[in-house]
Symmetry: C2
Subunit: 398 residues, 2 copies
Amino acid sequence: MINQHYLGMLSNKSVIRELSEYATARGKEIGYENVFDYSLGNPSVPAPDSFREACVRYLQEEDPVRLHGYAPTTGLPSVKEKVAASLNRRFGMQYGPHHIFPTAGAAGSLAHALRAVTQPGDEVIVFAPFFPEYYPYINETGARIKIVEPETEHFQINFEDLEEKLTPSVAAVLINSPNNPSGAIYTEETLTRLAEVLKRKSREFGHNVFLISDEPYREIVFDGKQTPYTARYYDHTLTCYSFSKSLSVPGERIGYVAVNPACEEADNIVAMCGQISRGIGHNCPSSLITLAMGDTVDDTSDLSVYETNMNLLYDALTDLGFTVTRPGGTFYIMPKALEEDAVAFCKKALKYDLILVPTDSFHAPGFFRMAYCIDTEKVERSIPALRRFVEETYGIRR
Amino acid sequence: MINQHYLGMLSNKSVIRELSEYATARGKEIGYENVFDYSLGNPSVPAPDSFREACVRYLQEEDPVRLHGYAPTTGLPSVKEKVAASLNRRFGMQYGPHHIFPTAGAAGSLAHALRAVTQPGDEVIVFAPFFPEYYPYINETGARIKIVEPETEHFQINFEDLEEKLTPSVAAVLINSPNNPSGAIYTEETLTRLAEVLKRKSREFGHNVFLISDEPYREIVFDGKQTPYTARYYDHTLTCYSFSKSLSVPGERIGYVAVNPACEEADNIVAMCGQISRGIGHNCPSSLITLAMGDTVDDTSDLSVYETNMNLLYDALTDLGFTVTRPGGTFYIMPKALEEDAVAFCKKALKYDLILVPTDSFHAPGFFRMAYCIDTEKVERSIPALRRFVEETYGIRR
């Protein structure tokens, strides 16, 4: 008999996907260039040339039996070495290759990290607003998601609610900084305070509460700043990374788990990930893509367009009277809607071919998300539409 | 706290992997060319040129944002179309693209197929001898493995035991033909009889028992024959395929699930696989590799070396008095050991630098497996060693 749980999941359509499908359909009517599609978080810039060159070089120069052969269960040693060296150099860490587990993107990375540090029935804390895929990512492991309410002024952490929710049944805390959907970056102060809470509670509970740091947007940071490296603040940290955004290769499914060497069972967690793979059918990312990533680990696409777009939108939104926190990174911005019901607000915007996503499914009602990983020229053209929408719908004139 | 289940798995070392590690270590002492390493099922021939050419062409000619972008949850439509067309043309099937779900190799394929047609607690039948990874592949889904004892004369199906084990708690039956480790191919007669049993029991139980057909060795068939296409014999069949062996690209992690259009819920299963992916962190194979596979779906490496090696070994083993079933395909052969304890037998062979794998972990004690995906020249050199081993250890002279 067919599995009823997965069959049932088919009727829960994602809001983001529905809006994106609407945008595609509307594009067929009026030309996609006329749809201001802010729905999907797809990188809009090309991969760096170095990535293509590395792929072609391996294909043309490496013995195909070696190149396309099975990797060891815990990943290609030469690439693990390069990832560790890069993180050590950049963030002052002491990773060895045996602390690095290459994965099929962030989804693969979180699938392993979550299973490694929870038992079925344990709770995993997430902080609203959060990426809605965290629901299946966590709940399908056998652990259960537990939500800390948002701090909506600066999108840092609501510590009061965290202290209340952080009970002995919590095995891990999952953070995402720079954040999807808010664009906020956790400050050093936030991370220091979070570490202090986790240390205190771990002592109190008699077991370590793990920190899982999901950081695919780590390299998209504005104003010349750097994201504080989370694992530096707390020993029991698993860093989950994806090159989807930094190298603009989301379809290639490449990322890693990095286990802080100061972590409980630090020398076993990568081997455990190898065991977890057997049950979930992972068995390493593509060899070719892994090797090319190893050669481009310190490269990025030209990510400056995201900052240009952010500045344009932030200024326009502020100008139009929106309440909005200026993003520190990512390609998202999350203003407050102009009425309490953000779903209604976003529906009304469709009349102006503005595809905005209400953040209700991110556990933050009343706000909306704009994914500005689109051409700057389109952002510019969208601003008059945004102005007309606001003026005609809410009678706001500035 | 660290997950105790996965931590515990670290102490169960795979026999195959231990032997392979021994072979590598021994190779460092005496030169790997002098170790007759029959332990690992790694393809030994290069990928066809067409695969490399397709990769390079996509890298050089396709817009990188499109090429490396996210695929839809259920896979790239153009490639699904090509896979369906190829299977339809070759095997007279009626697959549409919506019946094809591209996966990260056979492991990814089985991870989805097994979850789609079982509920936690259900049983899944496998037929000994079977690939030991079926234990985690099945048990880690929440279903439980149930073993039908081997038929050791021709390595077809022990139908008497199947009739006994096929109870209402069985949701699916998993077959692997051509078979690892025996090299046997299920005959039309076997498949017809299997289908008859499954239909009868499904009627009796009031639910369809699914057939999962794991066929990564489908294209490695000897004597100019073809493997009967399993899904033609039974409607409720999910075909799990990997290009690891046919294209010699095991490290690239590319395969698919093909859902028989006559299957229960045929039009929903691929969409369900998309939902299953969210929980296990799959999210499609690499885009580049998927596209290259689409262009080479009907190609194979030059696989003739496996038949050459099989014939050499089969003749030598027969000549030395081994009881052995002639493989119909794969790159495995599975003779009876010369003493009851095949583990002891294989240990004694190490003295002759022969790395043979006892099939106890394949649930078939008393036999051993030779993976002859190695150079023919080495197979030839191994035969005198095999002869010396047999003569000196078991006093057999022919």
